[in-house]
Symmetry: C2
Subunit: 397 residues, 2 copies
Amino acid sequence: MNRPEKLLASVRPHIASRMEGIEPFHVVVLINRAKELEAQGRSISNMVVGEPDAPTPPLIAAAGIRAIAAGRISYTSSLGIAELRDKIAAWYHARYGVRVPRSRVIVTTGSSGALLLTMGALLSPGDQVLMADPGYPCNRHFVRTMEGEAVGIPVGAETAYQLSAALVEKYWTPKTAAVLIASPSNPTGTLIDHGELQRIHAVVKARGGVLIVDEIYHGLTYGKRDRSALEFADDIFIINSFSKYFGMTGWRLGWMVAPEQYIAPIDKLAQNLFISPSDLAQQAALAAFDPDTVALLEKRRDAFREQRDFLLPELRSLGFDIPVTPEGAFYIYANCERLTSDSYAFCWDVLEKAGVAIAPGLDFGNHLSKQHVRFSYPKSIPVLAEGVERLRKYLKK
Amino acid sequence: MNRPEKLLASVRPHIASRMEGIEPFHVVVLINRAKELEAQGRSISNMVVGEPDAPTPPLIAAAGIRAIAAGRISYTSSLGIAELRDKIAAWYHARYGVRVPRSRVIVTTGSSGALLLTMGALLSPGDQVLMADPGYPCNRHFVRTMEGEAVGIPVGAETAYQLSAALVEKYWTPKTAAVLIASPSNPTGTLIDHGELQRIHAVVKARGGVLIVDEIYHGLTYGKRDRSALEFADDIFIINSFSKYFGMTGWRLGWMVAPEQYIAPIDKLAQNLFISPSDLAQQAALAAFDPDTVALLEKRRDAFREQRDFLLPELRSLGFDIPVTPEGAFYIYANCERLTSDSYAFCWDVLEKAGVAIAPGLDFGNHLSKQHVRFSYPKSIPVLAEGVERLRKYLKK
């Protein structure tokens, strides 16, 4: 090997073109700084991470321990354990009155796995996917990873930060392959109107596209009954998760319900990209639908609701503008332009000076992101109250 | 919505162009048939699945149970728990005498996750990756998923079914971005010569490409000491797994060691595609490097070796041609052309008539795949002996 070649190699590392379009979670740097401050003895009011503090529900934990003790933790079918797929199907009947055959239920490595498989099976290079801006950042990056193009549609209070049939029609192009709706939404906590979702489905179907509905925060809604898109159609991709309502984040387990003709392609993609989801997590999740577990989860849901009911008026009284009351998930997306002209700088300043960790709008898209921050409230009310007091003092200065 | 549009939608489902290039594991259909036969009361000699029967090593199981009992199973850093990354780094020092900083160790959802991240971070559409044919089928499908082109290089006994520097030079094109070496290889169980691997590295480096070395069967070698590519260079992607040597298949945990300049891109890709690997599996894996665990795993390795030593001469005596003695993993890739002209039909016939399940060459590439079958031998010797007897009777007919 001669010198010029060596130089060439060092100045031209192979980096995929997709990597330019994929952003890190900006908030991770802020979270790391928060941990650093805590390590230095500072108390930090953490309203940044989208993860409840609660332990895995006891019956799920016990099922996991039994599975380990029984000895065999092996590869499973790439689509998941039949018994778990049946239980998920039964959940749709009990919860939504919908019959879903086992064949259409696919267990995945978190909803992340479900989104990867969905985009991988659907998108050819250049295909567009319409989605709300603000929205969960990974969604657009799954699309970019598969060489598709995520089209963020600016949404605001007038549509409860959700897409509408009119917006879908307006932004549809010959390259549009799919529309992604997330309800309840991360970061806004808002729900899509069920009738509007049906109208969006009709528009998408009429144009030969595919509708994907992210229902991973289902179960965590306050007031309205959850409505699944499966109640009105079976040609929709539904994404769900054991992480949020079921409290199993670190187990990495989710699921999807796919239209029948996509099962075979998704099966072969899942075989190749994942082999199978975690056997252990699946065996534990068999206890997720147990009535005692669900009773516990409903209590936790009620607590989240109380936390929202506490935090929401407090934030409004501090000067944050929250025009649409969030009815699901555990997030409040707050307009902060009365308090700052740059939410990213604001988040850093609030962390350093007030000891409060919140997420900048930047992580959720481009539309008015400098004017917004996200509060995550799956925390006890005293913890939230302390955060509010710190913000009040900070803002008075 | 009018009728023509409805028809249009139904005849034109969106399926990604990549899906045409991604094949299912053909053997899955055969495995399902084997299970069906077993459910009907037939005894099946299973030499098809690449997974040992042994339970999770006790200390790993106990660590998993402790983690569940402690309550918090959460998202971790996307690159993995620091303590586990340190233990993996220490393993490289203890096992290979190599110093690897924690920063370059990335914990993943199985080696599948590591391969997905590697190909995702490296490959732009059209980029080629050179790899041996036969080889592990998922490897080429990870490349296709990322819109790259896997170039299977026909290899045979003359190179122990491995690539050589000469082959890499011969097949290199301006579109070649990377070369993937798997040693020990699935399906052939053969190792690459350490000197040849260094020569390949020199060729790849001289051309500004990237070398990826799949070491997931390291630890399972019989006779020779494992040699990691990290012993001679730090600009290589190393893929490894807790599934095989460490016996943790169904926990879905693996790792990679990446060159320093790729850590940041892989971190942001991992954040977006996986959030994090399983916290529970990581906490359990903290016990994987315990001396007692390693002592147990070395015993299991010795058993695999005995099983290979039993099966290999038996297969040769049956008429299978195995020109290169496999020295690793738990596979024997056998030429069956003295026994059949179509290994796929042969595998099905052997299953139905002899009750023996083995994998057809078809799943491992195109090169002479009709002339080969793969035997998987992580089974007790009586189980293997029964399979051999059944084959002997079948072949005498």
